[in-house]
């Protein structure tokens, strides 16, 4: 792909986004399959799994929401916990004003819906490298990830019956491992991140000891840590 700055045709830009995000799509395929297996534990059908992937399209929050449903059978706390985890999208889409501004509503709606951690980061990274990428590159990358997500979650839902005991395969640990791997990308150095993260862990442990329901414990831990981070100047 050319990295010469300049305006490109929307289709070419879309195509570049679609292709260049493939390595990240492979990662989505793996944990999408594991999430698909989890949907079976929540008694979700193939159609429901596909609809959730298409309309929510936010992997971590889907995992948390369905995990809440499986563990507690709590729909509302699943929605709230998933939504809290999605609050980061506020910052992601807030940074896309130059890509989204001045477009018709349907394009803005499509653009924000296709914004994920990976597509957003890749588009901004390419832009910082001087490439002529923008809205359609973001949407192209998002489309690739959505296809990977839909295919893998629905495959996990369909073929879970071939996996007699997901725990024996370690599938229940897949998300813990993914979140551990993701966590390092949020580390901003000892001075900035250590104290808020310790506060989060302490609040979670304390509230868990007091017997508070896990979704609220999760939110309290996240908010408490972030509040402490806000005081760091």
């Amino acid at each position: 792909m050319s990295d010469v700055p300049g305006k490109r045709m929307p289709f070419r830009e879309f195509q570049a986004g679609l292709i260049e995000i493939w390595p990240l799509g492979l990662g989505v395929l793996v944990y999408g399959f594991a999430f698909g297996v989890l949907t079976v534990q929540a008694d979700m059908t193939l159609l429901q799994t596909g609809m959730m992937g298409a309309f929510v399209f936010a992997g971590a929050s889907q995992i948390v929401a369905v995990e809440r449903l499986v563990t507690d059978g709590a729909v509302l706390s699943g929605i709230v916990a998933g939504s809290v985890l999605n609050l980061r999208f506020l910052l992601l889409t807030a940074s896309l004003c130059s890509e989204l501004g001045g477009r018709p509503f349907w394009q803005i709606a499509l653009g924000v819906h296709m914004t994920g951690d990976e597509s957003w980061a890749l588009m901004l990274s390419r832009k910082n490298q001087g490439q002529a990428v923008g809205y359609w590159y973001l949407v192209g990358g998002g489309c690739n990830l959505m296809l990977c997500w839909l295919a893998s979650t629905m495959a996990g839902n369909s073929f879970s019956s071939f996996i007699a005991d997901p725990m024996a395969w370690g599938l229940d640990f897949a998300f813990t491992a993914v979140f551990i791997a993701l966590l390092r990308t949020f580390w901003k150095g000892r001075a900035v991140s250590l104290r808020p993260w310790m506060v989060s862990v302490a609040v979670v442990m304390g509230l868990q000891w007091l017997g508070l329901e896990s979704s609220w414990t999760l939110m309290a831990g996240g908010v408490a840590g972030a509040a402490v981070a806000g005081c760091h100047v």
Partner: protein, 108 residues
Amino acid sequence: MLPWLVAMSEIGFLVLGLALSTFAIRYAGYALGAAIPQSGYWARVMGALPGCLIVSLLALLISQGDRTVWLASLLIALFATRVQNLALVMLTGMGLIALLRHLVPQVL
């Protein structure tokens, strides 16, 4: 879509609720983008929130697990400091916990 939702009961509500809230958050981010302070207390809070949420989630998941989960989490955390490939870390974690469950429970 409505008949589908009625038939799907609590799962339908979960999907609809999460879809609406996720879109609202994404759109609100764009709509409020210009108004969000680029510096100051609230910008720092919002910037730190995702990491703190993931730390909280991990604290919950790991503390609710058994000793094999604690050990596997520690080993995977060490592994993840060396390897940046998400899929590889995940597959290694799955293999590790499966192995620990077969071999180590008697030892632990």
